[in-house]
Symmetry: C2
Subunit: 246 residues, 2 copies
């Protein structure tokens, strides 16, 4: 496989850095090709806006991100930093997002990577989403650290089910654009684990990376379950939350 | 009230811009003081990292965001752009987040505003979260636009319940730091509404802004509902999703 790791942490010696290094080593040993986008090291600019368009603007008088992205992608006129990431994504069979959960989501540098690189035209188009998404056949996984315990992210935990917290990433970013999605690998409070605990956590992560073929994907309702106005058909259990993998 | 509008859209003539302008006008007419942080116009840098610390680093050899934030906030050594936003937040009784939903969340420029400005020490501390959060007594609301329909964000919609999509913002960012949270005001696909539809949508938004006192807040379980390890007590209906306001 061609693997792309999109890594977002400002400290190379962090546990996120250790997870990224372990993934590179493990995946190369298994015979895969691995590319890392180290967003902090690259000084990646996460602010989507007029600067994303290197060529002529679709509408110089009004900046609509989706319309400008579509026109620029078609014309090959997205800025060079976006174009480089698009090429990496095109080649990738498996994409890993490695980040610390900050305020219940991706650090801004990674959220903006998505805003800019998952451009309309490249990552989605009318009629090309979810089961017919443009990245169909690719696999993705979140690998993250948290600042609070696994209990707080349990379905009855105070921070909310980790799969609810990550729903915007799993369903919103990844499944929407066609990926199959592995369950997230979460290192809860690695700073509190002690050296032995951190070693055990990294070992569990290594095993997960070696076992991706045998790990069941997250469940999302197939397109056939949806009817009128993209809502679940009456025959499908339609209570709130059913779409989540819990 | 002192109102802070944190506004994130690159196009002043956008519907987000119109909502922001309407909020400023409506709230001033109602006798409130209004301050706007126009993040794109300010060129706000959303990337949390070593640059956030203007003074001496807590640990020059290892960058931990929460530890550096805590030490720098106590020492008054956060960078000037963060300090200015902190002063606005301190004065604010009511905070509105105005943004387009991009990839099922806040644009990176706004997510990074949260990463950097909701600094540990200022926005949270051990024992100071949720019901005892440091922003207790303040009110917040999301005002947003989407690129897909209200149906797709229904509880049985393909994009997931809008309150699930916004859970990381509502519970994660706002309730965690102590805010009371109004239901979000969502303008679904304003580009498809036509001029009359857009006027009606803005009128509905004006009414919401005039009626904040009478609008029920989103429900979050009080601290008393949580027991061991911050999980809901056995007596409390503990099925997955119960924490969401649906």
């Amino acid at each position: 496989m061609n693997v792309l790791i999109v890594y977002a942490h400002p400290e190379p010696k962090s546990f996120n850095g250790a997870m990224k290094d372990l993934a590179v080593e493990t995946l190369i040993q298994a015979g895969h090709d691995v590319v890392v986008s180290d967003l902090y090291a690259m000084g990646f600019d996460p602010v989507a806006g007029p600067g994303d368009i290197a060529g002529e603007r679709h509408d110089p008088g009004f900046f609509s991100l989706p319309r400008e992205q579509t026109a620029a992608y078609e014309a090959g006129a997205l800025s060079a930093d976006i174009g480089a990431e698009i090429e990496k994504l095109k080649r990738a069979d498996f994409v890993i997002f490695q980040f610390p959960v900050w305020w219940f989501g991706m650090p801004a540098i990674l959220k903006g990577w998505a805003d800019r690189v998952f451009a309309r035209g490249f990552a989605y188009l009318p009629g090309r989403k979810y089961d017919t998404g443009l990245f169909k056949g690719k696999l993705a996984m979140v690998a993250a650290t948290t600042g609070t315990s696994a209990d707080t992210y349990a379905p009855d935990g105070i921070d909310g089910d980790i799969l609810t917290v990550l729903w915007p990433v799993h369903n919103g970013l990844l499944r929407y654009s066609g990926f199959d999605v592995l369950p997230p690998f979460i290192a809860y409070m690695p700073g509190r684990l002690g050296d032995d605990g951190r070693r055990a956590c990294l070992e569990a992560y290594r095993k997960r990376l070696e076992d991706t073929d045998d790990t069941p994907r997250l469940f999302f309702h197939p397109a056939a379950d949806y009817g009128k106005n993209e809502r679940l058909k009456p025959g499908v259990l339609a209570r709130s939350g059913v779409q989540r993998n819990v």
